[in-house]
Symmetry: C5
Subunit: 99 residues, 5 copies
C-alpha cells in the first residue's frame, strides 16, 4: 500500500454503470519522511476521507474485493484514514497535530 | 486510476479475436495540476470519449470486469469522461471551459 | 496497452512446461510521437508479428485470457499488429509506409 | 519479490472492515548491494517482522492468497524475514551480524 | 516478461507456510542490448537456474499459475533459462559462449 494526502476530487457523469455511487479522490503520494511526492493517483473512497487527510490506499485488484464492488472497474481504493506514521520509533505524522 | 487527455487512436486489423469491436484510444497522462506528462497509454474505450476530452482510466484486471469483456486481452480501459477536477477546493479543470 | 516495435526474439529450451509452443518476441517500446524508448519487454506472440512491425501489447493477467493459455506463466502478450497510429487527427505511423 | 528493511509502522482506526487485525509496516526498499533506496511500501505483516529487520515482500494479488485474507483489500505483504542475501556466492547480508 | 541474470540467492527460515520449498534467486535485469541494469528482483525458481545464467521471468499473478503453486504468496517466477537473444537478426547473447 502507499501513504497519500487527499488533495482533491474528480467528477464524471458520463461513465461506466458500475462507477456510479463512487466518490473519486485525487491523492498526492507522500514519502516515508512525510514529504509530498510529485505523483498522484485517483482512488475510489469508501472510508469517508476528506481533503487534507492522510490515507492508506491499495492498487490493482485489491480495489475490488470489498463486497458489492467486485464489478467496479476501479484499480485504486482508500483502505484507511491514517492516525499515525512512526519511523524508527519516532512519530513523523499524527492526525491530531493537523486538525 | 489516472487522469489523461485523449490525443489519438490506434487501428489494428490483424489482432486477437477478442479485441474485435473495441475502439482503441491513445491517452496522454495529465498530472494533478493539469500539466500534460510525457507518458501515454493505449486504452479500450466504452464511454465514447473523443480527442481532446479528459478521461479517467483504469489499468490491469479492472479493464476486464465489464460484462462481456472478461475475455478481452486488454489491460487499460476508460471508465469515465471527466467533468471537473478540483484541488484544495479550487477547480483546475472544467469540461465546459474547453468546449 | 502499449505500442512497441518488434526488435528480436528469445529462445529458451529449459523452461516451464506451459511455456512450450509460445513464440517469444523482444519488443522495444515506442512513445506517442513514434520515438523508440529505452524500455523493452519480452512478450508471447499469438498474432504472428515479425521483426520491424509495430504491435499493441498487454501486460499482467490480460496475457492469459486467451482460450488455452490460462495456465501459461506469461505476463505480456501481443494483441494486435498496428496498421495506423493517429495523434490529433494526424497520422504518425502507417504500416504501409514501412513495407 | 523485493528486499526491504522494516523502518516503521502505520496506525489507522477508521478503515475498511477487512483491514482489521492487520499489522501495517513501513518498508524501505534495499537494492541488491544492500543499499537503502528512496522507495518505500506499506505492507501487511503476518511473519512478525520488527523495525530494523530485512524482509522479503510481495505485491499485487499475491498479498491476498493466505487463507482467510482473500477479502483483505491489501496489495503488499511480508512473506519472510531474511536470514542471508548472497551475491556471486559472497554474503552481502546476514541477520546474525545485525543483532 | 523480462530478461535477467541470476546473481544471487535469498534465504529465509521464518516465513509464510506456502513459501516453503521454494528456491529464491536474486535476478539483475538486463536490457535488450545485454547491458546489466541497476534493477533487481527476487524470484522463485522452478527451472533450476544457477548464478550467472540468463533467465526469463514473469511478474504478478503469472507467478502462481503453476500447478500446486496457486497459494504461494509470490509475485515473480523464473519461467525459462535463456539459450539465445537475437536483435534485428543479430545474436546478442548465446548461453554456449558463456559456459
Amino acid at each position: 500500500m502507499q501513504i497519500a494526502r487527499v488533495c482533491g476530487t474528480v467528477v464524471s457523469t458520463q461513465k461506466l454503470e458500475k462507477m456510479r455511487g463512487l466518490k473519486l479522490l485525487v491523492l498526492q503520494l507522500v514519502d516515508a519522511e512525510g514529504e509530498l511526492l510529485p505523483d498522484y493517483e485517483v482512488a475510489a473512497d469508501l472510508v469517508g476521507a476528506g481533503v487534507g487527510e492522510w490515507v492508506l490506499f491499495s492498487r490493482g485488484s485489491a480495489a475490488r474485493v470489498e463486497p458489492g464492488r467486485e464489478l467496479s472497474p476501479i484499480d485504486a481504493l482508500t483502505v484507511g484514514i491514517i492516525d499515525t506514521v512512526s519511523l524508527e520509533n519516532r512519530q513523523v505524522y499524527n492526525k491530531k497535530d493537523r486538525y
